[in-house]
């Protein structure tokens, strides 16, 4: 079966980020999206620790450890960028000013519920960071994830079994096998990797999927 690489997934997400968007890219896989944003578009990257207009990593040796991103990596600031305190930063999300955030996930439900902060396993130290604020605050929340776990279990589910991050907050899922819209009406397949059929995708995920532009497959 064809699978998109992580870079192909990042490039695919980047296609859907329009000129002028204010965007927060979550820690981990979503940070790769920055590498594929078209140069000709003005896109404003926000990092929740207090900067807007985030640029790429500095050259080795030029790091300034008071200029970091939410993943605590050294970054740069583009011309026109700005700094602000934490309450303003999270007001950008909660107040509906941020257009898009891209997050990783353990599970997403067909109705857009998100589980991405805690496995809930006994002994695991819980840590939430800004995940809950980002998930429910941005106008659109995109998830980037492998569709299946290493054991072959679908991460797109009817109901999340991991602890929830937010209810009904995800609008789109970019996976290595297909792109889905999720929400109150359930999941719709927007596109699939070459060679994959809707029937096979239903079998792999075990959830009910509509196909954009076609009749629903059970």
């Amino acid at each position: 079966m064809n699978r998109m690489t992580r870079d192909q997934m990042a490039a695919r997400v980047a296609q859907d980020i329009p000129e002028g968007a204010y965007v927060n890219l979550g820690i981990g896989l979503p940070t790769k999206v920055a590498n594929y944003l078209p140069q000709e578009r003005d896109i404003f990257l926000q990092s929740e620790n207090g900067l807007l207009g985030m640029g790429p990593a500095p050259a080795a040796g030029d790091e300034d450890w008071e200029l970091i991103n939410a993943g605590k990596q050294a970054v740069t600031l583009l011309a026109g960028g700005s700094f602000f305190h934490h309450a303003d930063s999270f007001a950008m999300m909660r107040g509906g000013h941020l257009d898009i955030c891209v997050l990783g996930a353990f599970q997403v439900s067909v109705h857009g519920d998100l589980a991405n902060w805690h496995t809930g396993e006994p002994g695991a130290i819980p840590a939430v960071g800004g995940a809950m604020d980002l998930a429910i605050g941005a106008k659109q929340t995109f998830v980037m994830m492998d569709l299946l776990t290493k054991q072959g279990t679908s991460k797109l589910v009817d109901v999340c079994t991991y602890p929830l991050t937010g209810l009904g907050c995800v609008s789109r899922v970019y996976s290595d096998l297909a792109v889905f819209d999720v929400g109150p009406g359930g999941a719709t397949v927007i596109e699939m990797v070459e060679g994959l059929t809707i029937e096979e995708l239903c079998r792999l995920t075990g959830v009910r999927l509509a196909h954009a532009g076609e009749t629903e497959a059970a």
Partner: protein, 229 residues
């Protein structure tokens, strides 16, 4: 003449007693007031409640406070990191209490305390286990969770520049929680890279007005850029 400047970090933290609640600025290592924390450790007080975004990185700052067993409870959003081994050990040994708060709620609750609000209704966390047992209200068709302000006896923060009246400007992402913690603590102690003459900070760029700051101490190394990650 009002002069809030202190001769050194030890003098700046001299009023902090056992059992105090202490906000500590910083996100990771950026904005962490390491020298004030070192002075607090040297002072020997314990049973502290610490409010910080994290639960310590590596060996310095909040991690050192935990290592020295001075912290009874920590209120933070993200305690689990690759180099948070002192918190991990203390938590697994049952020696530290954790109140986990989503980062934006942490900021909003601190800001609410500084602004004198009795509580806030926040959409963050609704429907999750972090909202269990809390009052929920539907306002204009959207669900909100009741959360109470977080205030503290002291705030330890780091800024780039200050003056003897306590006006502060920050440096890059080291600003983070500094301005809101300064407002939420009864006594705010700022370590600054340098103390300048009154009037030399442009009033248009003052981020924290001196009314929110009670002590300022100059620590030259605070401007060091090459801090370890």
């Amino acid at each position: 003449m009002i002069d809030k400047s202190m001769r050194d970090a030890a003098a700046a933290v001299a009023e902090i007693q056992d059992g105090a609640s202490v906000m500590i600025g910083g996100f990771g290592t950026a904005g962490m007031p390491d020298q004030l924390i070192d002075a607090l450790i040297d002072r020997g007080v314990g049973d502290l409640t610490i409010i910080n975004n994290n639960a310590g990185n590596g060996e310095a700052g909040v991690a050192a406070l935990i290592r020295e067993e001075r912290v009874r409870k920590i209120i933070c959003s993200f305690p689990r990191q690759s180099d948070s081994h002192h918190f991990d050990a203390a938590w697994r040994a049952g020696k530290i209490e954790l109140e986990l708060v989503p980062q934006g709620n942490l900021a909003a609750r601190i800001q609410a305390a500084g602004a004198g609000l009795g509580a806030i209704f926040t959409p963050t966390g609704y429907g999750t286990e972090l909202a269990q047992g809390k009052e929920v209200r539907e306002i204009d068709g959207k669900h909100y969770v009741l959360e109470y302000p977080i205030r503290a006896d002291f705030a330890l923060i780091k800024a780039q520049q200050g003056d003897r009246w306590g006006n502060l400007v920050y440096r890059k992402t080291a600003r983070n929680f500094g301005p809101i913690m300064a407002m939420a603590a009864a006594t705010t102690i700022a370590q600054v890279g340098n103390i300048v003459e009154l009037g030399s900070i442009d009033p248009e760029v003052v981020v924290t007005p001196g009314i929110f700051v009670q002590r300022v101490v100059e620590i030259a190394s605070a401007n060091t850029h090459a801090l370890a990650a």
